[in-house]
Amino acid sequence: MKNLYKIVVFVIVILIQIKSEAQTESPAPKQAKSVLLLGGFAHIGNGTVIENSAIGFVGGKLTLVADARTIKLQANAFDTTINIHGKHVYPGFIAPNSTLGLIEIDAVKASDDQAEVGSYTPHVRSIIAYNTESKITTTVRSNGVLMAQVTPRGNVISGTSSVVQLDAWNWEDAAYKLDDGIHVNWHKMYNSWTGKPNEKYQDGVNELKRFFTDASAYSKEKNYSTKNLRFESMRGLFDGKQTLFIHTNFSKEIIDAIYCFKEIGVKKMVIVGGYDAWLVADLLKDNNVAVMLKRVHDLPSGEDEDVYFPYKMAKKLFDLGVLFCLENSGDMEAMGTRNLPFYAGTTVAYGLNKEEALKLITLNTAKILEIDSTCGSIEPGKDATFFISTGDALDMRTNNVEQAYIQGRNIDLENHQKQLYKKYSGKYLNK
């Protein structure tokens, strides 16, 4: 038995060594040849599936997504045809409200570019700090997460986020949607440590309101002899080019925030966190406010609550007809991003159907980030950003990403951790 194991490991190691010599997690080159994938179980990302699919992509874009049994193709219609029968195809998962690339090791301050000092810092832009070389990002890609909204943390107004794809040489080619939104941490009505009512809540809200009111007024005029960088950075909120992401969980705070920004004239709002979103669902729908729902794998906030409440929240919001996706902020968020698919899986265990759950980390996320015209689902005309897993990718038991494509580029799934695995498997093999 033992020898057999050694042989197996040896073979794996040799194979992997061959591959890893060829690739060292470099960004993949542009798609040169057209590719057709045949026979895969395609999870489109919009709620539908094609059990026996034909997926063709050329120059980074999907050109064909169809039932393989219903189409007829010329033998040389695609440069390469790969049979992926029995395997599953998913749109690349999207991690919104993420700190990927902004931090490498939580406890090492020098590696931390998440939060700038100050209270109102809408003008700081996450994109320029985004580290394409992060060792964390490559471990995240290996589980199917291929895009992220890189988001600053801290302060009342944290700063400006951008959407990136996770295979790039530098932040410029990583950028997918530049400066997509501004993030506000809504004031807390209760002190999160002592639980006591925050006596300064209303003062804080009033101050924030004044700041936004000034920014709005400022945006009405284009030419200034003296520019205000903060207000300049917020113009997009008032002409509808940018979204305001409001980070808050408590029902009354959500209500206050929506009314506050609506009055000031913010065009597009999204609630991030939204633990109590289900309590104010009508308000959200009436104002077209979507929700990035906080981490599914969490404890209930009160001891009386259903012990599975965070698991069941997605089904609840779905039934209420709120547009929402899943996000992952909190403890160990950057490295935890690779578990995003399993959060979606858990919502299935507690009520949602699998394809609806998939939407929460693909098309819904794309819609909320307003990038759904080019990504978020496997549909012709969109980016060829998807991956192939040997099994159900929402279940850790079967999630096994074999190949992943970002805009048609076949990316390297190698990472720091796999390399150490190989290195030390080798140590014992050679003993």
């Binding site: 194991y5 490991v9 490498e104 090791i105 939580d106 406890a107 090492v108 060792k135 964390i136 009505m189 209760y190 002190n191 999160s192 440590w193 002592t194 639980g195 006591k196 009512p197 408590f250 029902s251 009354k252 109590d276 309590l279 794998h297 969490d298 404890l299 209930p300 906030s301 009160g302 001891e303 009386d304 259903d306 012990v307 599975y308 160990m332 950057a334 490295m335 690779r338 578990n339 399993f342 899986g345 858990t346 299935v348 265990a349 507690y350 929402l394 279940d395 850790m396 038991r397 999630n399 096994n400 951790q417 796999k418 150490l420 695995y421 030390y424 498997s425 140590k427 014992y428 003993k431």
Partner: protein, 1015 residues
Amino acid sequence: MRYAFLGWLFVALFSTVSAQETFMVNGTHNKNQNYYVFKNAIIFIDYQTKIENATLIIKEDKIVEVGPSNTIKAPKNSVVFDLKGKYIYPSLIDLYSDYGIPTEESNRKPQFSQQFESDKKGAYNWNQAVHPEVEAGQLFEVNEKKADELRKLGFGTVLTHKQDGIIRGTSALVTLVNDKANVAMVFDKVSNHLSFNKGTSTQDYPGSLMGSIALIRQTYYDTDWYSNKQNRSEYNISLAKMNENKILPSIFETHSKLDVLRADKIGDEFKIQYIFKGSGDEYERISEIKATGGKLIIPVNYPETYDVSDVFASNMVSFGEMKNWELAPFNLGIVAKNQIDFTITTSGLKELKTFYPNVRKAIKSGLPEKEALKSLTYSPAQFIGVYNVVGSLEKGKLANFIISSGNLFDEKNTIYENWIKGIRYEINDYNMPDIRGNYNLKIDSKIYSLVVKGEFDKPSAEIETITKSDSGKIDTNKISVNLKLQNNSISLSFNPNDDFSKNTIRLSGYVNHNAVVWEGKAQLSDAEWKNWSAIKGENSKDEKNKKDTSQTDSLVVPAIYFPNMSFGFDSIPKAKTILIKNTTVWTNETDGILKNTDVLLKDGKIAQIGKEIVAEGAEIIDGKDKHLTPGIIDEHSHIAISGGVNECTQAVTAEASIADVIDCDDINIYRQLAGGVVAAQLLHGSCNPVGGQSAIIKLKWGNNPEEMKIKNSDKFIKFALGENVKQSNWGPYSRSRFPQTRMGVEQVYYDAFIRAKEYQEKWDNYTKLSQKLKSERESPRIDLELKTLNEILKKERFISCHSYVQSEINMLMHVADSMGFKVNTFTHILEGYKLADKLKMHGSGGSTFSDWWAYKFEVNDAIPYNAAILHNQGITTAINSDDAEMGRRLNQEAAKIVKYGGVSEEDALKMVTLNPAKLLHLDSTMGSIKVGKSADIVLWTENPLSIYATVDKTIIEGVVYFDRAIDEQMQSKFAKEKSAIVEQMLKNKKEGAVTQKPKNKRKQTYHCDTVGSLD
């Protein structure tokens, strides 16, 4: 104010009665040898002896005689008070007071560095929170303002101490006289006082509840050691005092029912039966409290009503808090019913005036009046052995008594006088008539109905006029009356604004003695003098009815749950015979996974595994399409812990133990059950190289801490390496505690174990000595820290070591090998994969995270393939949580080991069941589904490694502790009960109750590196 003046007058007159012998007198001596006779009163000689027509005689500060009036003759030189219809009670006693002890301003400065030693100068104990030398007797000074407040409630004597520190010192018994301290004090050094709270001590140690417990235990051992005169290598005033005061009763302050049990355990170890100062929640664990055998001092500071008018905000008030609000007034009745000796204290009351209303609430909620009186007179005196001096009205005892209008606990009762040591303190003048009632006020020919109500000493009045409108509708108007009563003269003024008078009517006159008739002269607007009179009628019917409803013949005590919060059980659940039919069984044995199999659970054990099992009387569970696995065991958990998970203050704290601080009411116990967890090792945190001892528990929700502990399990202790230990991430102010590098960590271990060995040698040599030699020589000191380390060397205690980097893991194995012990488990061990071969050689197991990394520099090389490599190299490998959230889905974490490294599903499941059982030495009874093993199992809806699997049932020792269907029923049941209590609270608020705002208390959870307490 008038009465205050009167009171002062009496004080001045009588204060010489008990003037102290030793003091000089300026002027003429004024000794008063008169007798004071109180006749015709209804006297409670003691709490159970009431004499209807009795006489009490006192002289100077003592009682001379008491008994039925007809048997007692007053001496000639008597001042006689006729108290017909009035009551005399012994003055009350409060055992938990800091009366007259000056409060020290906390001199705690903002501290940026660690303080390892005591700030107290002198030959005292090493720990600043241990100061048995503090004597209330020496600190006491009379505080007239506070004395006055207490006297008004009828208290005559209090036991006072300085309420600061862990071993606090002794108390003094003082009376509430306004005189020299020498007169006030009855005894000093009456009792020892302890608590778990280090108070104003600025020293770091102890930094946790378990540290406080260890410190108390160590101090008792040191006291014993110090009692041997040979051991005076140091002079220690504190330890000398400890020995001196050993004979005194000890009173232990606690803040929860679990603290009572914790303190009692210490008492048992040192054969001390503490008297416990409780917190009012004793009813939640009444049988355990009774079993301590301890007497209780109980406050009546019930929680204020929550303001629940805002639904969103009131959702934050937990059901547990609501239940406590609902049940708090029932506490005393429940304690009394269980025949536990108790006294009531005013301690903790925000306002003393709530004392009687709260005691009355307790009486309404089941506390017999006799017990209430006993608990304020006899019991407190008896608890501290002073019943020969106070607590009843018997010849020779102190002349401490109250004169009241009626039953002490009656809502309408008025306390007139409180005599203390024969000194009269007048609170209300009993010669002043009680004029409250309904009157017909007749002025000239006009009759008004006058209502007088309010407090006895502050009556208020109004006049009701009835007017008939044209339509025949009757309106009642109330006109307020300005009323003044001084001695017997009374004056009233009001403006009825009616046909009789449009102007203010002024009346003056007098009240006759029994207050039935008032009469006098009135002056109306025309300046003419008229006669007026007021004649008291019957009490209104309303009041009579009210009285009837206040009778509580059939007392309904609201349900108390185990634990008393959401998801608590009605009663502690019992084991059943259960047959799980036709399911897929993951045996973790050579049988592997069995399909379509039945499993029978009986007497808490797995009784039978097979096909088509028939068992009479068994509850049948259909296991079709489900999976049955052994229960999950979490090797590394920090749930269910009170008062801090880390005793961070020293590099070695082997003396502290998590087993002392299990919190059986942590909702996370239930949440883990809902994730299939049946047992956990509750570990000390990781902030020092040698942390505290572990507790290994089964998650028997509803049970008490002792019942949760796994009986006869091996003992474990936490060690830790790396960044937490060297305080890498503590900021710039923590740079002083050794060690600050991995180099220092090694030396801490060598130092600790070498000291431990030397310690043992000392003891071995000493034990060998003859009795004679022993008595001549210095005896070794019991050192709880070194004793614990020796348990490791003797293989009686096993190590679970928090570890990340291979160098340090290697180091500890070297230390262990050279010192002669083994590291049982390296927990976390994220770089274990780098030295699996060495681990195997040493014989350690590994308990790791599935995929955590990058949160600290030392986990930069952590890989999710770690478990697979360790497992493949033959290391017993477990997956742990270190986290209340992850702890409830460890099945998913096990599944990740299939994903990362390709371990088989069966082996992956073992990583959260059988393997942790092995690491904790529990595998003979747990960890697999095998006949004879404990029935600790989980029924899953799917393959347990799938994200889609949910828990259907979690069973421990044959008891169903979690059932998905019952869980849902409980949710709706508790929601209903909650809304009923909300209704009560809203009603309460409407009636003017003081309310508190809800808090948003998201319960924080402990991790390895949490410093300080969260509760």
